[in-house]
């Protein structure tokens, strides 16, 4: 990794990620990710797709774009979140460490339908 790419990764991590725990690892992604990329777009007041299927232990890149206003992506059960800013692409690397169905939601109040803006992450073995 070049120094520029390291710096980019550091900035991205500090800017958009919150993480804890041992089994879940989330990191900023380099420009050419090797993992499968799951693209999630947001607009008032839903995510597309609204349901994301993942395999436990298999790393993926979640790539976010918002089509209108500032949104959030919060996946509390994995302690990860990201701001979604118009005109920018946000990426998270996620390795799901547990199976089940988990809620993700917009945590930036974005309008009248904000409270219904959520989706499901389904992690299977």
């Amino acid at each position: 990794m070049t120094s520029n790419r390291k710096a980019f990764a550091t900035v991205m991590m500090s800017a958009v990620l919150a993480l804890s725990g041992f089994a879940v690892y989330v990191a900023a992604q380099s420009a050419e990710p090797k993992e499968k990329v799951i693209r999630i777009s947001a607009k008032k007041f839903n995510y597309t797709p609204g349901e994301v299927q993942l395999k436990k232990g298999v790393p993926v890149i979640l790539e976010f774009k918002t089509m209108d206003v500032v949104m959030g992506f919060n996946l509390p059960d994995f302690n990860v979140r990201a701001d979604m800013v118009p005109g920018k692409t946000t990426r998270l690397r996620l390795v799901p460490d547990k199976t089940g169905t988990f809620v993700f939601l917009c945590d930036v109040f974005c309008g009248t339908g904000h409270e219904e803006m959520n989706g499901k992450l389904v992690v299977s073995d």
């Binding site: 509390p76 809620v103 945590d107 930036v108 109040f109 309008g111 009248t112 409270e115």
Partner: protein, 294 residues
């Protein structure tokens, strides 16, 4: 005191040590002691809401005002802990709702009324419209020796208190004696009640950390439209019922959608709270009131 419950009984009921609460105790009236005073908390009135969860939406707030005016013991002051209005993307409509709300609550007999915004009032314009009608979104005041702090965790749409306000809080707390009785009002919970439903404040833990050195602190908030009690260390956090529609218990429903209106039990789950406060310790006794007596 009628149907008096002494402090030991409250402590036994609550099991929480220094902070006590009791709910659903009809007929209990509170007598004013030398060191006590009384205030009323109303929350989440969501003026402007329309929908099946409350077919009486245009009258519920007015009934709540009448219920407060009908209390045997009138409070020293009244506080509204946010979501005065239901959100709208239209700035003109937002101001109309705030104006109507202000007119309705002007009918309260008690004229010392404190307001703060919820995310429905303030998050789409960073509190601009709210401030036009009600002034500052964060402030302090003192009453009979108790220090009250109003924290704004909604004007930032990211549900953050923010470093500037945290510095303001730290500065204010430094002026208080360590054993000062302190009551905090805010809209969202300062702890992670249920982040899956956005029932949290992103940097709420920083506020709690600042409050932690003070042994006599109690927090009152709204947002979750139901009574809820939680301890972070020695600090008690009490959520109030709403006055438009109740919400499910955290995680006990697929979504946080309002609970349906039950014609057989209208206004069930709605209400407001009286708080009897010991001015020496900020120890609080809570009495929950319905909007309409059964």
């Amino acid at each position: 005191m009628t149907n008096a419950i002494d402090r030991r009984q409250f402590l036994k009921l609550a099991g929480l040590g220094g902070v006590v609460f009791a709910s659903g105790l009809p007929g209990v009236t509170l007598a004013a002691g030398q060191d006590d005073f009384y205030f009323v908390q109303l929350s989440d009135t969501h003026w402007g809401f329309e929908g099946p969860p409350n077919p009486d939406a245009k009258l519920t707030l007015k009934k709540a005002v009448a219920a407060v005016n009908g209390l045997d013991r009138q409070p020293d002051f009244i506080v509204f802990t946010g979501d005065l209005t239901h959100t709208t993307d239209n700035p003109v409509e937002r101001r109309k709702r705030l104006s109507e709300f202000k007119q309705i609550v002007s009918e309260l007999k008690v004229k010392t009324v404190r307001f703060m915004p919820g995310e429905h009032d303030a998050s789409l314009d960073n509190g601009k419209a709210f401030q036009e009608f009600f002034g500052a979104t964060r402030y302090t005041f003192d009453h009979k020796g108790v220090h009250f702090i109003v924290l704004d965790n909604v004007s930032d749409p990211r549900a953050s208190i923010g470093d500037d306000q945290l510095a303001w809080l730290a500065s204010d707390l430094k002026q208080q004696k360590t054993d000062a009785p302190i009551v905090v009002f805010t809209h969202r919970p300062l702890f992670d009640l249920y982040p899956q439903w956005d029932w949290a404040t992103r940097d709420g833990a920083k506020a709690v950390e600042l409050l932690m050195p003070y042994p006599n602190v109690t927090v009152f908030y709204g947002h979750i439209h139901q009574e809820h009690h939680h301890m972070t260390g020695h600090i008690a956090h009490h959520a109030a019922k709403g006055l438009m529609f109740p919400l499910p218990e955290a995680g006990k429903a697929p979504t946080r959608a309002p609970l349906p209106w039950n014609p057989a039990e209208p206004y069930k789950g709605l209400g407001f709270r009286g708080v009897d406060t010991d001015a020496r310790t900020a120890e609080c006794k809570l009495i929950e009131f319905p909007v309409v007596k059964a």
